[in-house]
Symmetry: C2
Subunit: 201 residues, 2 copies
DNA sequence: CTATTTACATACATCCATGATTGTATAAAA
DNA sequence: TTTTATACAATCATGGATGTATGTAAATAG
């Protein structure tokens, strides 16, 4: 047993997190055993238990990595001349994140389809701070659009924001469920464009 | 051990299915043990194994019950004078089913949040026949609306149908995740109304 | 250079869910 | 009425996952 340096240890920690994501995706969280994760990472359970308290800890560790891209890239610029275009760009950005960041995409897929929201995981299901912030950003953007007269007449910015929020939830779900070569993925951007165009004055 | 008549046996079968739904909802499918189901149904595992091959069989048995209300109640009348109103009614019907059929609602909640789509369950995730039929119904209805000049100018019925399809997916997800007293539930019907109104000429 | 801690691997004990087997009293068939 | 199949309950054997405890060699602190 050759002892590792601090940097090497941090590396195995990442390997374990990566392996966990792969195994979670393939087996689902519940059927994932720390033995499988260890094997996939090329270590033993001893290493896994050294870096993480248990499977739940490992799960939350993996989840943490995936939230970062969103808070960085999905933003609403308040100074945007056309807030509706800002919303459209934000929605497109979500798709792009899933397209060019496989780890993030896989983690979202795990959270969406490979995880049961009970007991220690049930807290993740209700609106998370990030989700609420996104909804708030949408609402504010639609309000700015309304103030600029860009929103179609008679539309309540709050309602429209909720509508888009719901749309995004469904979009992610269906996008993840569609095959990479399926037309739905290619059509996602068109869907987003139509979605926004419907709201424009 | 007093042997039951055929009718009594059918009754315990239903009791087991009901109990399974409750336990699935509380513990998630993976952590549900047949011992828990048996206890919740007031029987032993012997009875469960008599009526169902294993947990998977029990799961699909429960699922079968829930699909029926939808094919019955969520329909598109081709003779409808206003197809958009027909779509709106269909969407409202989905909400109403979840409101006044707790068993159906609970089953959908299990399928949405208490089940991992791996191995024997992975088939349920891709578009099921029922979902495809619903999408086809939406597309046809929007096409009829377009033919009658009821659809807003410049909208592609196929795209709009996909948009509504995505909307419904997100709507169910968020509706299930919201608390019964939360404003989102009350606002769901308003959301639907706005969603359709946006598409009207 | 010595002591201690780190970063794991290995081994162990425990528990629990599963599926199968067996037992049994009675409904239903003949 | 006798026989057989039914509808379970009770018991058993097995495996597999978990957490912990121990071993260990090298990195690091002093």
């Amino acid at each position: 047993m050759v002892r590792k340096t601090k940097e090497e240890a941090e590396l195995t920690r990442r390997h374990i997190l990566d392996a966990a994501r792969r195994v979670f995706l393939e087996c689902g969280v519940a059927r994932t055993t720390l033995e499988k994760v260890a094997a996939a990472a090329g270590v033993t359970r001893g290493a896994v238990y050294w870096h993480f308290r248990n499977k739940t800890d490992l799960f939350f560790g993996m989840r943490e990595q995936a939230t970062l891209p969103f808070v960085d890239r999905v933003v609403f610029d308040e100074a945007e001349a056309d807030p509706l275009q800002g919303i459209e760009r934000a929605l497109r950005e979500i798709i792009h994140i899933m397209e060019d960041q496989p780890e993030t995409r896989e983690t979202i897929e795990i959270l969406s389809f490979k995880c049961e929201y009970v007991e220690e995981f049930s807290g993740l299901r209700l609106r998370t701070p990030g989700q609420l912030e996104f909804l708030a950003g949408l609402t504010a953007a639609y309000q700015r659009a309304a103030a600029k007269g860009l929103l179609r007449a008679g539309l309540d910015p709050t309602i429209v924001a909720q509508d888009t929020f719901v749309f995004v939830g469904g979009l992610i779900k269906h996008w993840l469920s569609s095959e990479p070569d399926e037309c739905f993925r290619a059509g996602a951007l068109a869907l987003i464009r139509t979605h926004i165009a419907l709201r424009r004055a």
